[in-house]
């Protein structure tokens, strides 16, 4: 068998005759398809609007959480610092660290909470 034999084999194929009921059966399905209600399109406008609202709320929530927790932390640290002057420096550092932690946690909670 040569390459030309392959060419000849692939080029020559006995055509199939469709079954007698094929066209009728196909048209039946076409009619069913034509009479069926059109599929509901995906509501892209509503989806995008919802997504925007969700992102805005998420941002707002994150910002509010950060602001609230940071203010609380700074307020507590400020009270100790005022009572004992020796603690001003370490407590100020601790307050900043706490505020930073709250900032991160608040941001995370804000985004996570808003996305539910």
């Amino acid at each position: 068998m040569t390459a030309d034999d392959l060419d000849r084999i692939l080029a020559s194929e006995e055509p199939l005759i469709p079954s007698s009921g094929f066209a009728a059966a196909t048209m039946e399905r076409v009619r069913e398809s034509a009479s069926a209600p059109p599929p509901l399109p995906f509501p892209w406008h509503r989806f995008l609007l919802g997504l925007l609202v969700m992102l805005a709320l998420s941002g707002l929530g994150g910002w509010a959480a950060v602001r609230l927790h940071a203010m609380e932390a700074l307020g507590s640290a400020f009270g100790y610092v005022l009572a004992d002057p020796h603690l001003w420096l370490p407590l100020a550092g601790a307050g900043v660290a706490l505020a930073g932690t709250y900032l991160l946690v608040g941001l995370t909670l804000g985004f996570t909470g808003a996305s539910r």
Partner: protein
């Protein structure tokens, strides 16, 4: 495809798009043979080929509004059908081919080969159906469309050069699998296509 047939297709397409699904019957009657035969070349199973062709007609009907008339209706129709067939083949591949059986026939005597000719031809066609999809599609459509490279490229939705490369590689792969030696066939014919 002749001019009259193409005109009839366009008349039927306009009728369907105007809201009369019965206009599609002409398209089904004219193209049922070609669509079933193309499907058969992929699956080598008459029943499944008819099921696939029916799915293809349904998809063509549902997507008819997307036909812009940039190409012949038949080209667009075969392209849609090919995508339906690809999806079907991805879901359920045809039975694999024992290529060793074909390769084993190469060394047999002439009388034996003559007796086994029909079986051998069928195995070679099944070997094409078992090629990786891109080569399988290119070879199948090319021979189905009477070696018309330009039309094959349009149906595959690839540039002509890409179609030619796919055919070349597909044939080489087939020859390697079948253990056939010899020059690539019909390269001269493709050069003129």
């Amino acid at each position: 495809m002749d001019r009259v047939e193409a005109d009839l297709d366009l008349v039927d397409v306009r009728r369907v798009l105007a809201g009369d699904p019965e206009g599609f019957e002409g398209i089904v009657r004219r193209w049922q043979g070609p669509l079933i035969n193309l499907a058969y070349r992929f699956v080598r199973d008459r029943g499944r080929a008819e099921d696939m062709a029916q799915e293809a007609f349904l998809k063509i009907f549902q997507q008819l509004a997307r036909f812009r008339g940039d190409s012949a209706f038949s080209t667009w129709m075969f392209s849609v059908a090919l995508n339906v067939y690809r999806s079907s083949l991805r879901r359920r591949a045809p039975p694999s081919v024992p290529l060793d059986a074909v390769a084993g026939m190469v060394g047999r005597s002439a009388p034996q080969l003559a007796l086994e000719e029909a079986q051998r031809e069928e195995l070679v066609r099944r070997a094409v159906a078992a090629l990786p999809p891109r080569y399988r599609d290119a070879l199948t459509v090319f021979y189905f469309k009477d070696k018309d490279l330009a039309e094959t490229a349009r149906i595959l939705e690839v540039p002509k050069g890409t179609a030619k490369a796919l055919l070349h590689r597909g044939r080489k792969l087939l020859q390697r699998k079948l253990g056939v030696l010899g020059a690539a066939p019909s390269s001269a014919r493709e050069a003129h296509a």
